[in-house]
Point group: C2
Chain length 656, copies 2
C-alpha cells in the first residue's frame, strides 16, 4: 500500500463535485492569501519536528506525568521558534495549538502577563521588565481570582500595604478565601506574576491594583520566603495547564513594582489616582474579542469532525431494503450539524468586525478620545457571552451526533468541550456579562442615549414589518423588536417596583431573568446584523457569496424558530409565518447538505490539529479508532496480571 | 477542635428554620422507612471499611493504574458482601456507587449479563449457567454494539453459522466494522459474554440472536484461540470501566450456547421461530426505567452540590455598601438551581410510576397477556430520552452556577456529567428514541387507536381551556395540545408529500425535525401528568404536599415558558397569560428559596457518595478545595525537578 493514499469513497464523491473555490474560503478565514501561506508554513514546521511529537497519547498519562510531557513541548516549541532577532512565537494562540491542544503552562505568559505589563506598567517599568519577559528570562502569570472571589473585583482580599519606611509594599493573604486560585501556569511553572491586590497606603484602601511579584528563585525555582504556591488539581479540561494557588505571608516588594501607568504611589505614600477609569475596558475588550475568535475556531474543528464522520458513517435505513444510508442524509442529523456550521461563520465575522472596531478605538484612545469604548465594551460582552455559550452547546450536540464514538477522547470532542465551556466562565462569567449588557440596554432606553450598537433603542419607533416579509433585514428587525420588547417590559416592571417602594437593587434582581433574555436577544441581533453585512459587503465570488448568504439566512431562521415564543410575544409573528420559516429551514438543510463536506474541507484544518480519529481527512474513522485503542497501555499485555492474580481470580474461585 | 463538628453558619441558619419533616422526603425517595434504614446500614458498612478507601484520588492515576485501583474495590466489595446463603451484592446499582462513582468493571455482569441469561436462556441453560454467574465463578458482559453498528440491530455483522456436522456455531467477525466495541468490563475483566450475532443455519440468515461465548481461560485469564479482545481507551467519563473490543476468527461454541428461551436451532439445523417478537420489549423497558431512576439520582446529587455551595458562597453586591450576599439570593442563580430541583422529583415519580406499570405488565405477560407492552415501551422510550437530556443539561447548568470551582474535578460535576450524558446515547440513542415515539404518536392518530398514554390523541376533540385558567390541569392540557398540534401538522405534511408522490420514508425524513418536537411535547405531558397525580394521590403530610405542589407548578411553568412558541402556535396562549406565568415563576423562585437547602439535605446523600468538595454537608467548601488540591502529586515537592532542569531552566537561560 506504500504510496497509495486511502480516501473514503463517500468523501471522494463529495469532493469530486465541489461547486466553489475552497481556497477562497480558506483565505477568508485566515484573513488573506498571505496569512494562509504563513499559517501553513508554520504548522508544517511544527508538525515536521520529531521532538514535538507525543511518544504516548497524553490521555494515558498520570496527572503528574502529563505536566512534564506538555511542558516539554511548550518549552521546545518556544526555543525552536526563537528568531535570531525577532520575538519568540506567542504560544498562547494560533498554530501552537496544533501540538498544545488543552492549554499549556506558558500560555498565560503571552496572553495575560505580557499584555498586563504592556497595558499597566509605566514606561520605565516596561523598559526594565518587558525585554526580560519577551525573552522568557522570566515566566509570568496573572493572578487575580481568589478562592472566595471571582466576578466581583472589589471583593478581592489580597492586601498590598505600603510601608514608607522601607519604601516597599507588603503583600499579605489575610484568610483562606483570599488565596489566589486558578491562574494558569502558576502551580509549578511561573516564577513571576502580576498580582491584583487591594492597595493600602496612609491607612486607606485605594482599591484593586496590579503588582509585579517575584514568586520563585530564578536559579533554583524554589518558592521565595513567605510565598505558598502549588497546583490545584485536575479539571474538566485544559489539564495541560498547571493552574495554581498562591498565598503571601508578609512578602515585601519594592515600591516600583506597583504597575504605575495609570495610578502611582509616591515615596511618601501619597496615592495618585488614574486619570480615567475607563481605560481598563480596552484590555477586557481585547481578551473578549480574542475569545469570540477562538470560539469560531472551536466550532470549525467540531463541525469538521462531525460532518466528515456523518459522511462516512452508514446506519439504519431510510428506504426499506436499501443499503444503510450515510447519516449525513438524515434531516435530524443535518439539524444537528448545520446550525453549528453556520454559527462558525457568524462568529468569525463577529470577531473580525470587533477587531476592526477595536483598532479604531485604540487609535482614538491614543488621541485622547475614549468615546467608542463603552459601546465597544458592551458589544464585546454580548458577543463573548453568546459565542461561548453557543459554541459549548453546539460542541455537545455535534459530539452526540457521532453517537457513542463521540464519547471517546480520541474523537476530539471531550477536549473541545473542555475548551469551549471553560470560556463560558472565565474572563467574565456569562450570566454576569448578560446582566451588564442588560444594564447598558436599560440605561440606553431610560437616558434615550447610547452608542451605535444600541441605536435602535433610542428615540425611535421601530418600523413595522411589511406583512409577510421574512427577508434577512426583516428578521434582523424582528430580533431588534424582541430585545426592545424585553427592555420595555423590564423598564415597566422596574418602574412598577419603584412605585411599590421597592429599592432599585431589589427590583433589578427581581427582573434578572427577563433582563438576561433582553441581553441575549440583543446579542443575536448584533451577530446576525454583522453576518448579513459582512456577506453583503465582502469581496466574494458568486458561488461563495451564495453559500454564505444561505448559511446566514439559515442561522437567522434557526435562531428565530428555536425561540419563536419571543417573536410571537414581541414581534407579531404569525403562526403561518412560522410554518413558512420551518419549511424554508428544511429546504435549506437540503441545500447546505450539497456543499457541507467541501465547506469543512475548506477550513483547512490539518489532521494533527483536529486531533480526532473520527474527523480525519481520509475518512478512515474505524481503522483510526482501532489503531488509537491499540495504544492503550492496558493492551500491552493480554492479561492485567497484578489485578487478575490479586483480586479477580480469588473472587472467581472463592466458591460458596 | 476534636469533637467539634464544623458547620457553616449560613447552612446552620437555613437548617434551624426547617418547616417540614426531612425524614418524610428521605423515605419518599427511598421507597419507605425500611428501605431508608436498609440503605443507610449498607452505605455505613461500605464506608467504614478501610480496604475500600482510595489511597490516592483516582483522578491522579494513569489510565493503566486506575483500572487496577477500581477493579480492586469492585472485587473486594463483592467479596465482602457475599452472604453465607444469599446472592452477592449487585454492584451495578445502588449503594455500591458510594465508592464506585464512574462505572466499574463488574457492573455489566449484574446489569446486563445476568438479566440476559434470565430473560433469554432456556430453563436448562439457566440451570447450568445462572448459579455460576450468580456466584461470580465467571464474569460476563453483554456484547451487542459494533464499531460500525449501533442503533440499527439488523445491520450488525458478527456471524454465528451453525455447523450440523459438529453441532456447533462458528462465530466470525467478517470485517473491521464488525468488531464488538463498547461493552463494559470487556477489555480486561470479563471471561464470558452474551454476544449478539446474525444466526445462519441451512444457508439462511435468521437475524440477530444471543449467544453465550467464553472469551478467556478460566484459570489463566488468557484469551481463547480465535478471540481478539482489548480495551478501547479513555472516554469523556466512566473511566473506571474497561470498555472493550472483541473480534472472532472462526470461534466454535456448542449448539446449546445459543440462548434458546425464545427461538431454537435443532440438532439438524432447523430453526424454530420465537412465538412472540414483542417479548424483547420487556427487557428494554426494564433498562430504560432503570435509567430514568438513575437520572433522578444524578439530579439530586448535582442539585445538592450547587444548592449548598450557593448557600455558603458570597459574591458581588445586591445592595450597594452591604456585605456580599449569598449567591443563593440572586434570582438568576435560583433560576439555574430550582428547575433542576423540581425535575429531580418529576423524574423520581416518573420512574416509580413506570416501575409499577412494568410489574403489572410482567405479571400479565406471565398470564400470556402482552397488551400493555407497546404502550409501556412507548412511555419508557419517551421518559428515557427526556430524563437523560434534561439531566445532562441541568448538570451543566448547575456546574456553571458554581463558577470556575465547578470546573474542578473535585467539585464532582465533571463525573456526574460523564454519567448523565453517556445515558443520552446508550440504550437507545435519544434522537432515535424520539423518532420511535413520534412513529407511535402518528400511528395512534392515523389508526385512531393506541394505548393509555396516547389516549388524548384518539377520537377526541381536546377540551378548550377556560380562558384565563392556568392551573396545573390546564397546563397539562396545554402540553397535550402542543403534542397533538405537532402531530396534526406532521400528518398534514406527510399526506401532502404523499399526494406529491413522495415515498413514505422520504416524507418521514422530511418531517423528522417537527416529529421530534411532537415526541418531546408528548414526553413532557407524560412526566407533568405523572408529577401532578403523584403529589395529589400520595400519602403526604401537609407541609410536604405543599412543597411538592409548588415544585410541580414551578416545573410546569418553567417548561412552558422555555418553549412558549409552541404554546402560542398550538394552544392559543396569549401574551398576557405568558406575562402572568412569568410573574408566577419569579414568585415561586422566592418561595422555593425558603426551603431549598433543607430539601437537598433531605435527599440524605452522604458526603462520600456526593464526592464533592463544594457540596459537603458542613459547607466548608474552600478548606476542602484546598485540602483536595494538596493531594496533587505535583505538590509533593515545591519544584517539578526533572522538567525544570531539562526544559524550563534552559529556556529561561538561553538569552539571545
Amino acid at each position: 500500500m506504500v504510496g497509495v493514499v486511502y480516501e473514503n469513497l463517500d468523501l471522494k464523491r463529495e469532493r469530486s463535485r465541489c461547486s466553489f473555490d475552497k481556497e477562497e474560503i480558506t483565505n477568508l478565514i485566515d484573513g488573506g492569501k498571505e496569512k494562509t501561506q504563513e499559517r501553513r508554513d508554520l504548522v508544517q514546521y511544527i508538525l515536521s519536528d520529531p521532538d514535538l511529537k507525543d511518544p504516548v497519547p497524553i490521555e494515558y498519562l498520570s496527572h503528574y506525568e502529563r505536566y512534564g510531557a506538555e511542558l516539554k513541548k511548550a518549552c521546545l516549541l518556544v526555543q525552536k521558534m526563537r528568531k535570531p532577532n525577532g520575538k519568540p512565537l506567542d504560544i498562547g494562540v494560533g498554530p501552537a495549538a496544533v501540538i498544545l491542544k488543552e492549554g499549556n503552562a506558558l500560555g498565560l505568559h503571552f496572553v495575560m502577563f505580557m499584555p498586563a505589563l504592556m497595558g499597566q506598567a509605566s514606561v520605565e517599568q516596561q523598559q526594565k521588565w518587558l525585554p526580560r519577559a519577551l525573552n522568557l528570562e522570566l515566566i509570568g502569570t496573572y493572578a487575580q481570582t481568589e478562592l472566595g472571589h471571582g466576578t466581583f473585583l472589589r471583593g478581592l482580599e489580597t492586601k498590598a500595604t505600603y510601608d514608607p519606611d522601607t519604601k516597599e509594599f507588603v503583600l499579605d493573604t489575610p484568610s483562606l478565601s483570599a488565596y489566589k486560585w486558578w491562574p494558569g501556569g502558576l502551580g509549578k511553572t511561573a516564577n513571576y506574576a502580576v498580582v491584583m491586590a487591594q492597595l493600602y497606603t496612609k491607612g486607606k484602601c485605594e482599591g484593586i491594583h496590579p503588582f509585579l511579584v517575584q514568586l520563585r528563585d530564578e536559579n533554583t525555582h524554589e518558592p521565595l520566603p513567605g510565598i505558598s504556591v502549588g497546583e490545584i488539581g485536575p479539571k474538566l479540561g485544559l489539564n495541560s495547564n498547571d493552574n495554581g494557588y498562591l498565598g503571601f505571608n508578609q512578602v515585601r516588594i519594592p515600591r516600583d513594582q506597583l504597575l504605575m501607568k495609570h495610578s502611582q504611589v509616591l515615596e511618601d505614600g501619597t496615592y495618585v489616582k488614574p486619570k480615567n477609569t475607563k481605560l481598563g475596558y480596552a484590555t477586557m475588550v481585547y481578551v473578549r474579542v480574542f475569545i469570540v475568535q477562538d470560539m469560531a475556531s472551536v466550532l470549525r474543528r467540531a463541525v469538521t469532525i462531525a460532518t466528515r464522520y456523518s459522511c462516512v458513517r452508514h446506519q439504519s435505513e431510510l428506504k426499506p431494503g436499501e443499503p444503510e444510508p450515510q447519516i449525513l442524509d438524515y434531516k435530524a442529523q443535518q439539524n444537528k450539524l448545520f446550525p453549528a456550521l453556520a454559527a462558525s461563520f457568524a462568529f468569525h465575522f463577529a470577531a473580525e468586525n470587533l477587531w476592526n472596531l477595536y483598532h479604531v478605538a485604540t487609535e482614538n484612545i491614543g488621541k485622547g478620545d475614549l468615546q467608542m469604548l463603552p459601546d465597544l465594551h458592551g458589544m464585546s460582552c454580548a458577543m463573548k457571552a453568546l459565542s461561548t455559550s453557543e459554541a459549548a452547546n453546539f460542541v455537545e450536540t455535534l459530539r452526540q451526533s457521532c453517537g457513542g464514538h463521540g464519547y471517546m477522547v480520541s474523537s476530539g470532542f471531550p477536549r473541545l468541550y473542555g475548551v469551549a465551556t471553560a470560556s463560558e466562565t472565565y474572563e467574565g462569567e456569562n450570566t454576569v456579562l448578560w446582566l451588564q449588557v442588560a444594564r447598558y440596554l436599560i440605561k440606553t432606553r431610560m437616558d434615550n442615549a447610547g452608542g451605535k450598537s444600541v441605536a435602535y433603542l433610542i428615540d425611535t419607533k421601530l418600523p413595522d414589518n411589511k406583512p409577510g416579509d421574512l427577508g434577512l433585514d426583516s428578521i434582523i428587525n424582528l430580533f431588534q423588536r424582541v430585545a426592545s420588547g424585553y427592555v420595555d417590559l423590564a423598564v415597566k416592571e422596574l418602574e412598577g417596583y419603584s412605585r411599590q417602594g421597592k429599592a432599585p437593587h431589589d427590583a433589578w434582581n427581581q427582573s434578572a431573568v427577563q433582563l438576561i433574555k433582553a441581553a441575549q436577544a440583543h446579542a443575536r441581533y448584533l451577530v446576525a446584523d454583522c453576518f448579513v453585512r459582512s456577506v453583503r459587503e465582502g469581496k466574494l465570488s458568486g458561488p461563495v457569496r451564495s453559500i454564505l448568504n444561505e448559511l446566514c439566512e439559515f442561522l437567522l431562521i434557526y435562531w428565530l424558530v428555536e425561540r419563536s415564543g419571543d417573536f410571537f410575544m414581541f414581534a407579531e409573528l404569525k403562526a403561518q409565518q412560522l410554518i413558512e420559516l420551518q419549511s424554508k429551514y428544511m429546504e435549506l438543510l437540503g441545500t447546505i447538505r450539497t456543499y457541507a463536506v467541501n465547506l469543512v474541507d475548506a477550513f483547512d484544518i490539518p489532521d494533527e490539529a483536529l486531533g480526532s480519529v473520527l474527523g480525519c481527512w481520509d475518512g478512515n474513522a474505524y481503522q483510526r479508532l482501532f489503531d488509537e485503542a491499540s495504544k492503550s497501555p492496558l493492551n500491552k499485555s493480554t492479561v492485567h496480571r497484578e489485578s487478575f492474580e490479586k483480586y479477580l481470580k480469588p473472587l472467581m474461585q472463592s466458591n460458596l
